[in-house]
């Protein structure tokens, strides 16, 4: 069993039983690899999970908190093999996470992302409308998460057109020009959730553009929209009303697991691809929550080889909605994000891992 076996079959095609079996083998191998090659990972795991892990199911796999990448240098390669260092967008006053990639892991990430996105978009590159500004690329040495998100999806597009000018102001002429040029055609639209709402949904047009063949992908979180009482259902409904836009795909991913993207489908829930998974855990005792019970989201991915990011406890709260029975035939687990965990909810986590 190799990760390529899970990448080279159509994504979202494995049912949970098949996937559990394949992932268990891969994750056991990855855990042992990181214990052998990262002293910091071994220390954290041993402290919390003991020296010997009994791998009966994926749920037995040790996990570390995403915040560990801020406090520790976590890598499983020699310094000379570092190809790229990704950093998280830490808010002011916080330390940033550092994720160390070698060439192999970077390649796996881009192949994996391509398999997921092309499952939705298809193999042909489509005219691409980006709801952002080119100015996000100005500091080439340290891209923001936004810049990295756009660049990750750029290979799926052509005639890349940016709706905001260099000063991050909407350029209506550019937006209208693009929609006029490709009215009714297959196009690819990408932007951060809040910006799509602000600069596409709320833009004023003299005519109704037909985006029934367009594919919209968006990410970045709902916080700003929830403050404005816009949830996912409203977001989808309003875009359908305004543009007849129905192919809408939100996704959930993080810099600590680039390439492992959890993708929404027509039912509005996020789905785990073949080579990744989610487990919802009780924030107090970390036991596994059943369908319908909210908890901290643990993300599992078979991609991280150069750094121990294969099993992470996030600071997001989510709820499992079902397994193998999603509308549209996508197999495996599907879930919903409820928001960021409150500080109090993370206290148990920090007590456990930062002794």
């Amino acid at each position: 069993m190799k990760v390529d076996d899970l990448l080279n079959v159509p994504q979202f095609s494995l049912d949970q039983a098949e996937k559990d079996k394949a992932m268990l083998v891969l994750m056991k191998g990855l855990h042992e690899h990181h214990v052998a090659n990262s002293v910091a990972y071994k220390e954290i795991c041993t402290r919390v999970f003991g020296t010997k892990v009994d791998f009966k199911t994926l749920e037995d796999l040790p996990f570390i908190p995403v915040s560990a990448f801020k406090n520790h240098q976590l890598m499983s390669i020699n310094e000379g093999d570092i190809f790229k260092v990704l950093t998280s967008s830490g808010t002011t006053g916080q330390s940033v996470s550092r994720i160390y990639l070698d060439k192999d892991t970077a390649r796996l990430q881009s192949v994996a992302l391509s398999k997921i996105i092309s499952h939705v978009v298809g193999p042909q590159r489509l005219p691409m409308l980006v709801i952002d500004s080119k100015a996000v690329f100005e500091n080439k040495l340290s891209f923001s998460a936004r810049g990295a998100g756009i660049l990750g999806l750029a290979p799926f597009g052509k005639d890349h057109t940016y709706v905001l000018n260099e000063n991050f102001e909407p350029d209506e002429a550019v937006l209208k020009g693009f929609l006029e040029k490709y009215d009714g055609q297959r196009i690819f639209i990408f932007g951060f959730t809040f910006m799509v709402w602000q600069f596409l949904q709320k833009a004023n047009f003299d005519k109704k553009y037909d985006l029934s063949n367009a594919i919209l992908m968006h990410s970045g979180g709902w916080k700003k929209l929830i403050d404005r009482a816009v949830d996912n259902a409203t977001f989808r409904l309003k875009l359908k009303e305004k543009f007849n836009l129905e192919h809408i795909y939100n996704y959930y991913g993080m810099v600590e697991q680039v390439g492992s993207v959890f993708m929404e489908n027509q039912n509005g829930y996020l789905h785990a691809p073949n080579f990744a998974d989610v487990i919802i855990r009780n924030p107090v005792d970390f036991s596994v929550q059943p369908i319908g019970q909210p908890g901290l989201i643990q993300v599992i991915s078979a991609l991280p080889i150069s750094y121990p990011g294969h099993s992470l406890l996030t600071e997001d709260i989510g709820v499992l909605e079902g397994v193998d029975d999603s509308q549209g035939g996508w197999k495996g687990k599907y879930f919903r994000i409820l928001g960021r965990a409150k500080k109090a909810e993370l206290r148990g986590c920090s007590d456990t891992f930062n002794k």
Binding site: V111, S114, V121, P123, K140, L151, P155, K158
Partner: protein, 79 residues
């Protein structure tokens, strides 16, 4: 040979590299000029110069100058 020179010119124009550094062993992200932003400029340049339409997999697979030649050959460009 003619198309090889044309390919060197495309790389030079899109990436702003000196022609002497545009050799088979030149790989993506090995020089500051060939990063993920200029990569998309390079792709557009190749599509224009060779009148081909490259797919997403081609964009992702184009990891070196030699690989670019291979991918263009797949699209009917002879070297």
């Amino acid at each position: 040979m003619e198309n090889n020179q044309k390919l060197i010119n495309s790389f030079q124009e899109a990436l702003g590299l000196d022609t002497s550094s545009i050799v088979d062993s030149l790989t993506y992200q090995s020089v500051p000029e060939w990063d993920s932003i200029s990569h998309m400029i390079l792709i557009s340049q190749l599509e224009e110069d060779f009148n081909v339409s490259l797919e997403t997999d081609d964009v992702i697979d184009m990891s070196s100058f030699a690989k670019a030649r291979e991918i263009l050959a797949k699209h009917g460009v002879s070297f």
